[in-house]
Symmetry: C2
Subunit: 306 residues, 2 copies
């Protein structure tokens, strides 16, 4: 018997579509219903085999549903939860894929307060600058992490079902508190996106933008790859997590102030030392695989790097 | 007959080694002499076939030399030019591979003032986070650009010889003024390196660095790849070009101040607009090939993106 009988995906884009394709590929889902804002996207999702059926109202979609995955941009989560709440049946597990957890959980407490035992927030770490169901793939989560941030109200069985679904997708599942999650991802994901968007925006607005871009090479290419990410999704992430993100941005501005002062005073020795420490940490991290056991190995290398 | 009879490479690392290997591969060099600070590195360069002979003094190295390539970190250029000047023969062309041109040219005017007709500054754009002759390859410059910043004093024939050598290496050669060169590369290369070093240095110094790095994924990997670059080389570049670099850093700090204010005020619309403009420019640039005719095509796309 499949892990999930009836699955509802709200927002069948890169992540939602890949989740459905991965479960299908393993025979672990019976029937997949898609919901979303734009009919054309849902038609493409059906044509690509990610969903079996398109629903236009929550009552139909949620009838007999085992699992609902909310895969819209995080800015729509509150509205979606409000709309689905009256039609939610007792057995249905609700999970999400939001890159921020504090705001999703706040919405759940407000909109799904009678259903908290089965609302299990999650965040699959599958960064991709592409978006849309056309980019979806059953292999997207292979060897990647998914973070669960379970609520104190959760049924243990619901948490284990969500964990199992992501494991079927090939992800390594780890648990964190929502607060830790939002701080960690502000630092290692949300801030770098902001910095890359900012650099490209800055250069593109210059009078000599053409000359500048024509001489940009592979370092620039990799540094700015994430500036090709989905603007609405990243607007929502940055605003949803803005408290932690502003903290990280200010810390980084402090780092840049230090670097600026070293440049201004021509402090060759300290500048080289700073670059050396960064290089050492970056190489240590790069050598540790980004996967199941990366944490332990990164730890070892970081310790030896100090 | 080979383009270069006797070639002297000072600093046989990634760039110097690759230049020698590329010319050798095409049969366009007769004899290659290596000079450098560390004997062991020169021995490896000889073992790898990048050089034929190791010289320990400039008099021997420069005897009958047709072409000297200065491929040390830019911070050593002044010292190297001072040491070689008394032994330089009339026919010898001198070029370099420095990522900054203002400082190299200032050193040339001061140390090689009697030889300026044959000092042709150059900068091959072959970004690689690796360093050392072990990473050298005859194909390193294939499809990449090399920028020449000729001096008013240059003999036309010397400029054409340097151009031809880089073309033999597979590079597309373009000419720029040294001032334009240094401003352009401060923006698209030196600043991104500084920002990536800064982010990794900041995170590596945190009490929870292990937790942070363990959750970093592909966006972080690409954004910080250049933080694995050679610390001494980048210290020299940043200090040599610090005037232009400080200008770029300050402009970028202005961009971050704008982003910070949009975050703080929750200005969803303008934040999304900024991300959209960045994404549009980044995708337009990414679609234009980084190569010979990238400039024209990037221009077209940037114009249409506005």
């Amino acid at each position: 018997m499949a892990l999930i009988g009836k699955l509802v995906i709200c927002g069948v884009g890169l992540i939602g579509g890949s989740f459905a394709l991965a479960l299908r590929g393993k025979g672990e889902v019976g029937h997949v219903v898609g919901m979303g804002r734009t009919r054309a996207a849902l038609e493409r999702a059906r044509a690509l085999g990610a969903i079996d059926e398109i629903a236009t109202d929550w009552a139909t979609a949620l009838e007999g549903a085992d699992f609902v995955l909310l895969a819209t941009p995080v800015g729509q989560i509150d509205e979606v939860m409000t709309a689905m709440a009256p039609h939610l049946q007792t057995q249905t597990i609700v999970s999400d894929v939001g890159s921020t957890k504090g705001d999703v959980i706040a919405a759940a407490y407000q909109r799904l307060d009678a259903h908290l035992s089965r609302v299990v927030p999650a965040h699959p770490i599958a960064g991709a600058e592409k978006s849309g169901v056309e980019a979806a793939s059953a292999a997207l989560f292979h060897g990647k992490r998914t973070v669960l941030t379970p609520l104190p109200e959760n049924d243990a069985a619901a948490v284990e079902r969500v964990r199992a679904a992501w494991q079927v997708c090939g992800a390594a599942v780890v648990d964190m508190s929502p607060q830790d999650h939002d701080r960690v991802f502000a630092a290692v994901s949300h801030l770098p996106h902001l910095l890359a968007f900012g650099l490209v925006h800055d250069l593109a607005g210059r009078a000599n933008a053409e000359l500048l871009f024509s001489h940009a090479a592979s370092g620039f290419r990799d540094f700015t790859r994430i500036a090709g990410s989905h603007p609405e999704m990243w607007r929502d992430i940055c605003l949803a997590n803005r408290q932690a993100l502003l903290g990280e941005l200010d810390q980084y501005l402090g780092e840049l102030a230090l670097i600026r002062s070293l440049l201004l005073s021509g402090n060759s020795e300290r500048l080289e030392q700073l670059f050396k420490e960064a290089r050492h940490a970056r190489i240590a991290w790069g050598e540790a695989a980004v996967g199941t056991d990366a944490q332990a190995r990164t730890g070892d290398r970081l310790r030896s790097a100090r």
